[in-house]
Structures are given as structure tokens and as C-alpha cells.
Amino acid sequence: MNEIDYITPKNLEEVFRAVEKKKRKIKFIAGCTNVIPYMRGEAISPELLIDLSSLENLNYIREENGIIAIGALTTISKLTASEIIRNQSPILFSAASLLGNPLTRNRATIGGNLADASPAADMAPPLLALEAFVHTKRGEGEGREISLDKFFLGPNKTVLAEDEIITHITFSKPKDSARGIYIKLGLRNSMAISVVSIALMIEMEGKVCQKARVALGAVSPTPIRVYRLEKNLEGKEIDQEIIQEYSVILKEEISPISDIRASAEYRKLATSVLFKRAIQEVLKGEKT
């Protein structure tokens, strides 16, 4: 068994100094709710654990000039307790309330949920629908600002370099006229990993859809935006016929796998049903 070192830097300078010095397999950790099972199952074998959980200045939720910024180390339970999140981005709020269970929500962080890049990551669909950006830092240089829809590469793979960390996530406060919903289909209510999840945001003017954002989890190698469906919805009067037609088109846009939780066929069917349910709820005018 290999030796594992552990450090807990107090600021970003210490993080990057540690990264520079040690030319070894590093793993950034925070809430550890995924990392510990990965290490136990030997899915990963890091040589240096860099614990980011002491970086208090990356633990915040702010609203400034219409932009909502969330520090990467913010726990999921802090999101569920935030008035800003509850009022300004209800779809993120409901996804946070449905992530894991209270015990894991007290540890898991928003940055960790994205960096882990599970196709079923609960934070991803709402943040994709909100057109969020991931802000990163690597060494002393300028950080990067990555649109979330360019962030995921595959299951547990992102564009992050091994020594790059997420500092915060930002998105514009949705317009007052925007309505959204997040629906998660799991095998049970608590502690469920999504079988399919959908985040939908639309802006309507009368019966005409002005803007649509649709994101899905657990039906592709990464959480995805469904651009073709969004384009189809925009500028249209949304009636039952269109909803039915697009729910069928949607099945062609996804490539789910069969796994322990559901078959690919079921996921396609369920995605179609969830889309119908989501858009009908939103059109009813319920702000979820």
C-alpha cells in the first residue's frame, strides 16, 4: 500500500506551494463524501491529500449587481439554508434539498459535487439551466472562467487540470418573469442517486416561450444541456401538442446507459415523462 500524505492549507498560496513542491499524485478533498468511498474501493490512489476545507474565504453565498456567487467550499446544507438561493434560484434550492440526505449535505460541497463530475451530480442540471460559470485557479496565474456546459468531459472527468481548483461558481440572477423547476427521479426519496433528473427554466410572454433552458442528469456521460430542444421551444406557443412532440424528440438527444438503478430504455421513457411533467408544472405558473 502506498504512503499517503495529508495537508490542510489555510490559504490559496499554501495550496499552490504544496502543489508545486510535491511532484506526486495529488487529490483535492473537502467534504469527502465521495472521496472516502473511492479510496476504500481503490478507484483512486492518491499520494497527497490536500484538504481544502479550511479555506474559509471560499465558503460564501453572495449576491452583487445581479450576479449570484457561491464559494466552492459552500456545503449543500448551507445552500438549503440560504435566503438568496431560496428566493433567487429556487431550482438550485430544490436540487440542494434533494441531494443525498441531511448527514451528507452537512459535509458535501458545491465545488466537490461539480469537480466529482458524476453524470448524476445533483448540482449540475440546475446550474446548467442557470447558465453558470465555474471559476478556477491554478498556481499564481490568472484563474479561468469556464461555462459549465464546457466543464464536464465524461464520467468523473472535467476540464480541470490535476492541480487546478474551483474557487467559486457564478450565475446571473434569473429574470423575475423566469420560472423553473427541478425534478429528480430516484429509487427512493432520501439518499437517492438520480435515475433521471431535469432542470427547466423558461421565460414566457403570454403563451409564447421567449427563452428556454433544459438540462438533464444521469442520461448521458455528463450532465447535459439539451440545446436542440431549447431552440425548438423558443419563439413558439407552447401547447399540449408541442409538449408531446418534443418529449419524443428529447429521447433522441440523450444516450443513457443501463446500470444498477435503471435500464437505458427506462431512462429514455422516464426522461420524456419528466420533461412533460416539468413543463406542464412550469406553465401552470408555479414557482418551484
Binding site: 500500500m1 504512503e3 499517503i4 500524505d5 495529508y6 490542510t8 478533498i29 467534504g31 469527502c32 463524501t33 472516502i36 468511498p37 479510496m39 476504500r40 491529500l49 484538504d51 476545507s53 446544507s77 443525498g100 440526505n101 441531511p102 448527514l103 451528507t104 452537512n106 459535509r107 426519496n189 432520501s190 439518499m191
Partner: protein
């Protein structure tokens, strides 16, 4: 194997232990600090039997590294109440028959205590939500929820 010294304020008393980077909080609590009231169930955050209060919040001690508890406060079931001086929650669990095999009980009471610390008058739904990370395979939850609600209603705290 490289080891580190951690100091944990366990149930009000500072304790020291030598740990490796990989060791989890539950391993250190049970194997090195004698806190066997913390139960080891699934080991991956599905069952909640290892729940402890960590800096004021209920967490799974199997999903927390021992090193992350360095300099921090940890409260286990024994820090909530003992056989000689049981907490009202513990008395209520006994009165309501909310314990059958008992394996989930330590974690249930930890989650209930963390809830009541922040919300002294929880609704039934809030209680259900608070213990939704704790599995019980015997009681069907009803008696557990009754036991917690009774403590909240009677202001037995």
C-alpha cells in the same frame, strides 16, 4: 506508514490519537478512543448508524477523515446522555418502544439531537426529513418519530 497526531474534543474532553491520512473518523473513534457507541453500518454514507455531531452538525463519521476532526468538537451518543443520566430523547425512545435491534438508535438520537438543537419545535415532516439519512430496518420509523416529537412537544429539553 506515516502517521499524524490528531486532537479531538470528544464529548467535551480533548483526546489524542495517532492516525494515518486514510483513516476515517469512525475508525479512530471506535478503535482508538473507545467510542464504540458509534455504530459501523454500511461504511459509505447510506445508513447513518455512524452519525456524530461534528462542529454542531450531524454528519456520517464514516465519510469524514479523522484528520479533518483535528482541533474540532465531536459529540457521540454518550455525549448526549449516558445510562446513568439519560437525555430526554433516550428516555422517550425507551418509553415509545422506538428501539428494537438498537443498531440504528445511536445515529437516530444523534440526528434527532442535532435537529432539536436548531429547531426546538419541529413538525412531523421536519422530523422525518432530519432522520432521512438514518435507516431503521425494524421499527418502521413511526415510533421513532413519535419519540422525537414527544420530546419536542413536552419541552423536555
Amino acid at each position: 506508514m506515516k502517521t499524524y497526531l490528531v486532537e479531538i474534543k470528544l464529548n467535551g474532553e480533548w483526546q489524542k490519537a495517532e492516525v494515518t491520512a486514510k483513516e476515517t473518523l469512525i475508525e479512530v473513534l471506535r478503535n482508538k478512543l473507545g467510542a464504540t457507541e458509534v455504530k459501523n453500518g454500511c461504511g459509505k454514507g447510506d445508513c447513518g448508524s455512524c452519525a456524530v455531531i461534528f462542529n454542531g452538525k450531524a454528519v456520517n463519521s464514516c465519510l469524514t477523515l479523522a484528520l479533518q476532526a483535528n482541533g474540532k468538537e465531536v459529540t457521540t451518543l454518550k455525549g448526549i446522555g449516558t445510562e446513568e443520566r439519560p437525555h430526554p430523547l433516550q428516555k422517550s425512545f425507551v418509553q415509545h418502544g422506538a428501539v428494537q435491534c438498537g443498531f440504528c438508535t445511536a445515529g437516530m438520537i444523534v440526528s434527532a439531537k442535532a435537529l432539536l438543537d436548531h429547531n426546538s419545535k419541529p413538525s412531523r415532516d421536519e422530523i422525518r426529513e432530519a432522520i432521512s439519512g438514518n435507516l431503521c430496518r425494524c421499527t418502521g420509523y413511526k415510533k421513532i418519530i413519535n419519540a422525537i416529537q414527544d420530546v419536542a412537544l413536552e419541552s423536555k429539553l
